[in-house]
């Protein structure tokens, strides 16, 4: 199931992501802390290893220096005694296993005027025997050699830079040289002790706190005294590869080493992150122990891997466990959803599942229950209302039939007069009316509009129509008819309803029309030449308001072909959806465009269609009544 569609999965995923983020943050912080601690521990460990090695080396150095110091006085006191002088190096070699060679080398001429005097005792590397020879000569001008010249120039003891003993022990050696000074402080010779450095390689190689760590040892001239790559020993310096590779960090470490400093530096060792701890020896040499990060963090990497795997497993467990719990906890919601769906489908009596908890789910369950009861109550009420409405609508329908039946439907040609009318109530029943009757050789007609709408207006319309039909049949002048109708309507009109009326009486022989307006819209007259205009008439008051209102006749002679169009305000005030009204101008425009020989019915239907087109489906807000009279039309027809 897609995570997007499954709440439990989505929520679990969110929890997973947040947990993973938090764990990652904690892991990173923890990792950095552990890394720092491991590095610190590794540095301490390596420094301790280095210090131990230095102690071992210093022990040898000190022993040799002390041994030489101890015999210094013998030479000083017996410097003219050849036997005693020659005995000194022999004693040094035989009494000190670390010393493999020794000499007391005199300044040229300083010993009994001899150009060279340097009794040398050494351990034969092959036989192990102690041998003594005299050194010095044209081929071995020792006063020019480092072991003699440098301490002499410095005026203090000096450990020579390691050298390869050619023709002797074929081994790496170093010589400790101590200047011999007379009473005046003048140097008359150099007392030396040679030591083999072969044991240094073993010692340095044994300093290996980590699998790939290694130790190197350098002299003051930067040359390697010990190095994992034995080919570099005495052949290369700490700067050789650094200069070739232009490695500034290695250069920095090398400079620290040669400066006799103690410390630690991190650097890139041929692409491997590493660090070097270094410390000097008392004789000017220096040791450096190099460890790679890979080595010191190996265990941390394993722990990190295991921890990472456990965290991953934990996160997976968290995800699935969380999803299971969320699913279980949200199961009532699913049931509520199903119940709501059942209710929505019409089963209003569907059972809302029970919940055992007292939390939001119970609230939701109660809300659903309340909704269900409300719906059922509403439906019951709706049924009752619907039944009542149906009954009311039925009655209204009957009332409409009755009202419509009051209005004449047969439009028989009266002399030269073609006429037609229609009414379209806005509701079931309306307050508009039209009527016509023929009496005394004249055609009486009217269009009216009762105030208000609905049933009250319909009843008032029925009264108006009955009064007109009764009074009109008496053949009275138009104003009298209107006066009597008005009085009739005023009688008992407690609701103060009224009706606007335009009524007319056409002499069917002469075409003279008497008319009387009771507050109605001006009617439209379309002359035979097609020109249309609103008929000027006194406005007067609407009928039903003031008893005995003095209505007066007005008269117009209709020319043959004259068309009258009567209407209620439902026409001019017909609205579009945006409240824009049809208006009198648009009505006048319609009349001007009307076909001259159109029948009264055609004109009415055309106008109604025009109004409907204008409103364009908007609700009809008022009753619409149209009545058209065409006097002495060219074509005589009988309209149904």
């Amino acid at each position: 199931m897609s995570v997007k569609k499954n709440f439990a999965s989505r929520l679990s995923l969110y929890v997973l992501l947040i947990s993973a983020g938090l764990m990652l943050f904690v892991s990173v912080v923890f990792g950095l802390f552990v890394r720092s601690a491991v590095r610190k521990s590794a540095v301490q460990l390596t420094q301790k290893e280095l210090d131990n090695a230095i102690l071992d080396i210093e022990k040898v150095i000190t022993e040799v220096e002390r041994a030489v110091d101890n015999v210094d006085w013998i030479v000083e006191q017996h410097r003219d005694d050849e036997a005693m002088v020659c005995q000194v190096p022999r004693e040094l070699v035989s009494a000190n296993p670390n010393i493999v060679g020794s000499t007391v080398a005199f300044e040229p001429g300083a010993f009994k005027g001899r150009p060279y005097f340097a009794p040398f005792t050494y351990v034969d590397a092959t036989s192990g025997e102690i041998r003594s020879i005299q050194m010095g000569g044209a081929d071995y001008d020792y006063p020019m050699l480092d072991w003699y010249q440098i301490p002499k120039l410095l005026g203090r003891p000096y450990w020579s830079e390691p050298y390869y003993d050619e023709g002797g022990g074929e081994q790496r050696m170093s010589t400790y040289s101590m200047p011999l000074k007379d009473e005046t402080g003048a140097i008359y010779g150099i007392l030396t002790a040679d030591i083999s450095l072969e044991w240094l390689s073993d010692l340095v190689r044994s300093i290996k706190p980590y699998e790939h760590s290694y130790t190197l040892m350098v002299g003051r001239n930067g040359a390697y005294i010990a190095h994992p790559d034995s080919a570099k020993v005495l052949n290369e310096t700490v700067f050789t590869s650094a200069l070739e590779m232009r490695d500034t960090t290695a250069m920095t470490i090398a400079r620290h080493l040669l400066a006799g400093e103690r410390g630690m530096l991190r650097f890139d060792n041929d692409g491997t992150d590493s660090f070097a701890v270094f410390a000097p020896l008392s004789n000017g040499w220096a040791l450096a122990l190099i460890c790679s990060d890979m080595d010191i963090f190996r265990n941390a990497y394993v722990v990190n891997f295991v921890l990472g795997a456990l965290l991953l497993l934990g996160l997976l467990g968290l995800f699935f466990g969380c999803r299971r719990i969320v699913r279980r906890q949200t199961m009532p919601i699913v049931e509520f959803s199903n119940a709501a769906l059942t209710i929505a489908k019409g089963n209003f009596k569907a059972r809302i599942p029970e919940v055992s908890t007292r939390d939001e789910l119970l609230t939701l369950r109660n809300s659903l229950d309340y909704m269900q009861r409300s719906i059922n109550d509403y439906i019951a009420e709706l049924k009752s209302t619907t039944a009542s409405n149906e009954r009311y609508e039925s009655e209204l329908s009957i009332a409409r039939d009755i009202q419509m039946s009051m209005l004449p439907k047969a439009f028989e040609l009266k002399g030269n007069c073609d006429f037609y009318a229609m009414v379209q109530p806005a509701r079931e029943v309306g307050g508009d009316l039209y009527d016509f009757i023929e009496a005394g050789g004249s055609l009486y007609f009217l269009v009216g509009d009762v105030s208000g709408k609905g049933v009250p207006a319909a009843l008032f319309m029925a009264i108006t129509r009955a009064a007109f039909r009764f009074i009109g049949a008496l053949g009275l002048p138009m104003a009298e008819v209107m006066r009597r109708v008005n009085n009739c309507l005023c009688d008992g009109n407690q609701n103060e309803m009224f009706v606007t009326i335009f009524a007319g009486k056409i002499d069917l022989k002469t075409g003279r029309m008497d008319y009387c307006n009771a507050g109605h819209n001006p009617i439209l007259v379309v002359h035979p030449d097609g020109k249309a205009a609103y008929l000027r008439a006194r406005p007067n008051l609407a009928a039903g308001l003031f008893e005995n209102f003095p209505y007066q006749d007005e008269t117009i002679d209709l020319e043959p072909g004259t068309r009258l169009v009567l209407y209620t305000d439902g026409v001019t005030e017909a609205e579009q959806a945006d409240k824009k009204q049809f208006g009198e101008d648009r009505l006048l425009e319609w009349a001007a465009g009307l076909t001259p020989d159109a029948s009264a019915k055609a004109a009415v239907i055309d106008l109604y269609a025009r109004v409907k087109r204008f409103t364009d489906g908007a609700d009809q807000n008022d009753d619409i009544t149209l009545l058209s009279v065409l006097w002495n039309p060219a074509t005589k027809t009988i309209q149904e």
């Binding site: 044209a138 020019m144 050699l145 440098i150 050619e166 005495l234 310096t237 050789t240 200069l243």
Partner: protein, 314 residues
Amino acid sequence: MKRFLPLALLLLLSLPVCGQAVRFLPQWTPQTQFAGYYVALEKGFYEAEGLTVEIDHFGGSSTETAVGKLQTGRADIITSQLVMAMVSRSEGVPMVNVLQTSQVNGLMCAAHFPIDSPQSLEGKKIGRWKVGFADICDIFCNKNGLHVAWIPYIHGINLYVSNAVDALLCYSYSEFLQLQLATGGIPAGNTIRFAEAGLNFPEDGLYVTETYYEQNRETVEKFVRASRRGWDYARAHPDEALDISMEFIRAYNVATSRTLQRMMLEEVLRLQVNPATGVADYAPVDEARFLEINAALLEAGCIHHSLDYKEMIR
């Protein structure tokens, strides 16, 4: 004797059945300063000339000079520096120059302090080789009125590194490179190059005694021809020349590195380029320059009589 055993074996293997035997002695321990001769031997250029060449070398602690061995007949042909050879000739060693390989002087002085002017060296303890090579310094001191305490030494840079001296004479292709590798770099302001101080006197060349030259002129010409060929080959194939040189160097257990020897070869080849022509043409020193050096040596008291150009430069 143990130190000569590898070389002896090497020479025994390379000995041809017949040919004119030549004992050749470069003036120092094995290093790429002499790469052209190693290449000539290894590539068979000497053999092609009908020569059987034996290359001898000094050990690290020897205080003898090549001139001494030439003079006593223990070497037939040696390398030496022009100025040193002129001094030796003035002292009675009848040596003649048969090939001038170096065209530019490589002598330097490296100090523990800035050398702003020659006067910076006044009164300082300066190491110089016991066996010579530094007569130019005497000319330099004479020209500048300097008085320095010369500390003679055999070889190496430990005098400098141990601070036993204030400064050290060194060659740009040798000790100066060792100092660079031992210290990580000597500041340029702490050095002075004599070539840039008006003393650009050519250095290495091949020398024989007058007698040997007269009696073995053809052999000498063959040796010079094959040696030039060896240097040309080394210039064209420096890596191979380095490989060949390292075999000689290892045979003598010289404490050095391939890196140092590569740097040395590059510098030696650079010093062989004639500034006048821009190529390594092995041009002999011309008479005017010879007389200039002669005059300078006379003035500095290094020699006590003038030398004849035509007698010495062949």
